[in-house]
């Protein structure tokens, strides 16, 4: 608004030629989800609250990786150690009253069955994620799979 006013004032003094030039080179206003933040800066993270511990959440489609129904703050999954396996490994799950890792995770890329999870399934949070109170950024019409709706 301010720039337009300044431009108009400038035009009054200098005639109409500069106005046309300014219009021609006015940049197109494009906005992505990161807004006006320059590339070399980082958007400030919004504050989301981690959901409280709860029972396992039902899936919305059959192939959905089950969601993590508890906080995973401070749970590191590094080359040295995988914290999730403290409870979800088959040897710990019963004691910890946790869900066992699915048997589908025990196959390596050649189809060979292993005695524990395959290294290609090591990084749990690639597929399994905890939930926060974040609202969807855009509307959607997603519906739960028919076969998973309670009859």
């Amino acid at each position: 608004m301010k720039t337009t006013l300044t431009l108009l004032l400038a035009c009054l003094f200098l005639g109409s030629a500069p106005l046309r030039a300014a219009e021609e080179f006015r940049p197109i206003k494009l906005q992505s989800l990161r807004g006006d933040t320059p590339v070399d800066k980082t958007n400030e993270a919004e504050m989301f609250k981690q959901e409280k511990d709860r029972a396992p959440l039902p899936r919305d489609f059959v192939q959905q990786p089950p969601l993590i129904p508890h906080s995973i703050r401070g749970y590191n999954i590094t080359a040295n150690f995988n914290k999730c396996m403290d409870c979800h490994a088959w040897s710990k799950a019963r004691q910890a009253n946790a869900t066992k890792v699915s048997l589908t995770h025990f196959k390596d890329r050649d189809g060979k069955e292993l005695a524990n999870i395959s290294p290609r399934r090591y990084f749990c949070t690639q597929c399994h994620v905890p939930q926060t109170d974040a609202k969807p950024l855009v509307g959607n019409t997603f519906e739960k799979a028919e076969t998973l709706k309670p009859q």
């Binding site: 511990d53 508890h70 703050r73 401070g74 590191n76 590094t78 080359a79 040295n80 150690f81 995988n82 396996m85 403290d86 490994a89 710990k92 004691q95 910890a96 005695a115 524990n116 999870i117 395959s118 290294p119 090591y122």
Partner: protein, 206 residues
Amino acid sequence: MSEQKDQPRSLWKRIAGGGSVALAIAFVAGIVVWGGFNTAMELSNREEFCIGCHEMKENVFVEYRNTIHYQNRTGVRATCPDCHVPKEWGPKLIRKIQASNELLHKALGSIDTPEKFNAKRLELAQHEWARMKKTDSHECRNCHNYDYMDYGEQGRRSSAMHQKGFGEGKTCIDCHKGIAHSLPPIEQDIGASKAGTAAEQAKPAS
């Protein structure tokens, strides 16, 4: 008679006078030395001092920055010395004397690259675990007194595990390893073997 009486008194007075001056000097010097010593020791008990060395700043401090003891809801923090240096004067002094070994290794450059640090991570971690175990996790208990834990307020999992653990006579460090820094390689039987790291040592069966 009076002269005879006066003489020893004045001598006594002189001795007493000189003594009190010496005592006063000793007293002031004591305050300065003692206070100076403690101030210097306290100066070396701050987070800024600890991360004055790049070995700490670029390895363990970076890892600690992502944990609850660095940043949390209420801003109550535990900085390096809160966990790694005893609060009591005697044990603190002993720990500070032991730290001269760390100065030697700083000079030798034993852990002056991330690669060297990670190669030594297991050994360094084991030293801290052993120290914590020996004192029944004293530095944890300076803040976390488990006699006053309200299990009703704790999460479902932590409530169950705490009661079970304390019942078995366990101490904090038995389970809470790697809460402020990354763990060394722990054998979990996933993929290639992480040679030389006993899982049981780091994570006793619960």
